[in-house]
């Protein structure tokens, strides 16, 4: 599903160039639930952005569902994101002046789906995450966990092949974190979506099937056993 070969990426800040990714080779198969860990500055968010076609890369090759992602226009990229990828963010990024239903329906709006059908699908998805009764509440009337569940519903609604989550539990307490992780596992297991989570929380990573550890822009360990993470904590 996701195949990265020799991906390099550097940022230019003033006169100096900072190389963030120094040749990433990674294959994530369809239906995997993968966590990406690493210290801050290790390049894990950049990697996620490249996978999500939010950022471009300098060298190497990225194939998404065997399609080479390189040199597409912004409009084409928007289409690819819309078709393949659902995003979940640390700070939820719900649009504050839209209610839960409208937020969930937004990706469908950009797919040109008519309003009635859009709202039906969005409501079904909210029911799926257990928030049907909250459909007409504004984001500021929801708790953190509820907001993240709305955000997850939004990521799922267009039926993407991949869910990309950037620190999805970063702003949540441990109980809510567990609920959100259960939801993501459910998505992976029952809806068959590939899920990639960037996190620095061992508990979160431990809930996934495979952990990729990044250090200084390189993959240090591609097949870390999640169980050892929990052992470490204890």
């Amino acid at each position: 599903m996701i195949r990265l070969t020799g991906i390099r990426k550097s940022y230019r800040t003033g006169s100096s160039t900072l190389e963030v990714l120094k040749g990433i080779d990674l294959h994530i198969a369809k239906g995997e639930l993968v966590s990406i860990m690493g210290a801050s500055g290790s390049g894990k968010s950049t990697l996620l952005n490249i996978i999500g076609i939010l950022d471009n890369y300098d060298n190497g090759e990225y194939r998404l569902d065997s399609l080479l992602i390189k040199g597409q226009s912004e409009t084409e990229n928007a289409g690819l994101r819309s078709k393949y990828i659902g995003f979940i963010f640390q700070s939820f990024n719900l649009i504050s002046f839209k209610n839960a239903l409208e937020n969930v329906a937004l990706p469908l709006y950009y797919q040109g789906i008519p309003r009635r059908k859009r709202n039906e699908q969005a409501l079904a998805m909210l029911e799926n995450v257990g928030l049907k009764d909250w459909a007409h509440h504004m984001p500021n009337e929801l708790s953190g966990g509820q907001k993240q569940r709305v955000a997850i519903a939004r990521a799922l609604v267009s039926g993407p092949k991949i869910i990309l989550a950037d620190e999805p539990t970063g702003a949540l307490d441990s109980t809510t974190s567990r609920e959100v992780m259960e939801l993501l596992k459910h998505v992976n297991r029952d809806m068959g979506m590939t899920v990639v989570i960037v996190t620095h929380e061992r508990a979160v990573a431990a809930a996934s099937q495979r952990v990729i550890y990044l250090r200084d822009g390189m993959i240090e360990n591609d097949r870390l056993d999640p169980a050892t993470l929990l052992a470490d904590v204890r």
Binding site: L54, D55, E74, A78, S91, N93, L106
Partner: protein
């Protein structure tokens, strides 16, 4: 891009920021309002001046005798030129496309006295033929105007305006009454509509009209006329210049003066006056558009500026939309439509209020020689609307470009 979904998005984001929208919209509202107001007032000025020309055929020339300033054919300078009815006849045959021509004889107020019973009044007396009415466009309010029979029979008839009627006759019906003009009785045959209805001060009195032949006889003026006025069919500037030249040459031949002597006769060319007047007002109109567009531009810059802030404000939201599959065209479309919508709505209010105020002004302010009926026509309003929509587009375009260039990663980066 113009479907209902988009409008929903636009209305929602406008509704979210009411104060900001209102403040922005006000700049455009004010710009259009001022533009309409200025154009209307400009039209008021133009209408006021145009009103002054209403009593004269626009394609006409008046001539007055002057005093020669150059010697000619052995004759000295400083000779008085007195126009006569022979000049009228000569001009009648030399001006191409001549429509009406009339000479008139004038007695100034200081030299005249009208008397009826115990009432006295002093008025300018114009000895005229009935063709004069066609040139000066007087309208008869009661009775009749001086006619050809009056002229042929040198009848002692007189046509007066309302001011003279009030002064001489008070509440009496003047028709058929005899008025003494410098001691000679004239019978009132008509009343004409006064052009100075509003202000009958001592200086502004309407002249009274008597037949030219009778005036020449009573005031012992042989066949003299003081003013010759004629109208002609070719109202172009070239046509007017040609008529003017023919007039000078004809009269120079008749009175033996240098045709280049521009003081021998005085000539008032209405075509030239009207065209000068039109030129001035075209200039004023241009200036008003310039000022109005200027204030509109200030509004546009205001909207553009605020939209830029909006884009910056909504960087994250736009980033999210992009992550959710919004194309650059979606983003540009949204910002652009928002700007155009705000401009159009507030601009419309400015337009409506401006027009309303002008209509109110037109009905309250009495027309004068300088200002009258300050309204704008439909075409001007359409142009203002077009200017408005262009303004909205320009105001939205640059912020929209900025929004489209937002990179989702930067927008979504957590601080």
């Amino acid at each position: 891009m113009f479907d209902r979904e988009n409008w929903g998005e636009i209305l929602q984001s406008i509704g979210k920021n009411k104060l900001r929208t209102v403040l922005t919209g006000f700049a455009v509202f004010w710009g259009i309002f001022m533009l309409i107001l200025l154009l209307g007032l400009g039209n008021g000025l133009r209408n006021g001046f145009a009103y002054n020309f209403r009593n004269t055929a626009e394609n006409s020339i008046s001539i007055w005798g002057g005093e020669t300033s150059k010697p000619w054919n052995g004759l000295p300078a400083n000779r008085n030129i007195q126009l006569t009815e022979e000049d009228v006849e000569a001009l009648r045959h030399t001006i191409p496309g001549l429509e009406h021509i009339a000479g008139n004889y004038r007695v100034w107020r200081g030299n005249s006295q009208l008397q009826y019973g115990n009432n006295y009044g002093s008025y300018n007396i114009h000895g005229i033929i009935n063709e004069q009415q066609l040139l000066e466009k007087q309208t008869v309010a009661q009775g009749r105007f001086i006619n050809e029979v009056d002229e042929q029979l040198k009848r002692k008839t007189i046509v007066i305006a309302d001011d003279a009627r009030k002064e001489l006759f008070k509440d009496e019906d003047p028709m058929g009454k005899w008025v003494n003009v410098n001691g000679v009785p004239f019978q009132v045959v008509g009343l004409y509509a006064s052009e100075n209805e509003g202000r009958q001060g001592m200086m502004q009195r309407n002249p009274v009209f008597i037949p030219l032949s009778a005036a020449q006889q009573v005031f012992n003026a042989q066949r003299d006329v003081d003013e010759i006025m004629f109208s002609f069919s070719d109202a172009s500037l070239a046509g007017a210049a040609m008529a003017e030249q023919r007039t000078r040459h004809t009269l120079a031949r008749m009175h033996n003066f240098d045709p280049t002597d521009d003081r021998a006769i005085w000539l008032d060319n209405n075509v030239e006056n009207v065209s000068t007047f039109n030129g001035i007002f075209t200039g004023i109109s241009g200036f008003i558009w310039f000022i109005g567009i200027g204030s509109l531009v200030a509004g546009i810059v205001g909207i553009g500026n605020i939209m830029l802030i909006v884009v910056k404000d909504r960087t994250r939201e736009i980033g999210v939309r992009k992550a959710m599959g919004a194309t650059p065209a979606n983003v540009i479309g949204q910002i652009l439509m928002e700007a155009i919508f705000v401009t159009a709505v507030f601009g419309w209010f400015g337009l409506a209020l401006g027009v309303l105020l002008l209509e109110g002004l037109a009905s309250v302010v009495p027309g004068s020689e300088f200002f009258r009926n300050p309204t704008i026509d439909f075409r001007t309003a359409i142009w203002a609307l077009i200017a408005m929509l262009m303004a909205g587009t320009i105001a939205g375009y640059f912020p929209a470009r900025r929004a489209a260039a937002i990179r989702p990663i930067e927008a979504l980066r957590d601080e």
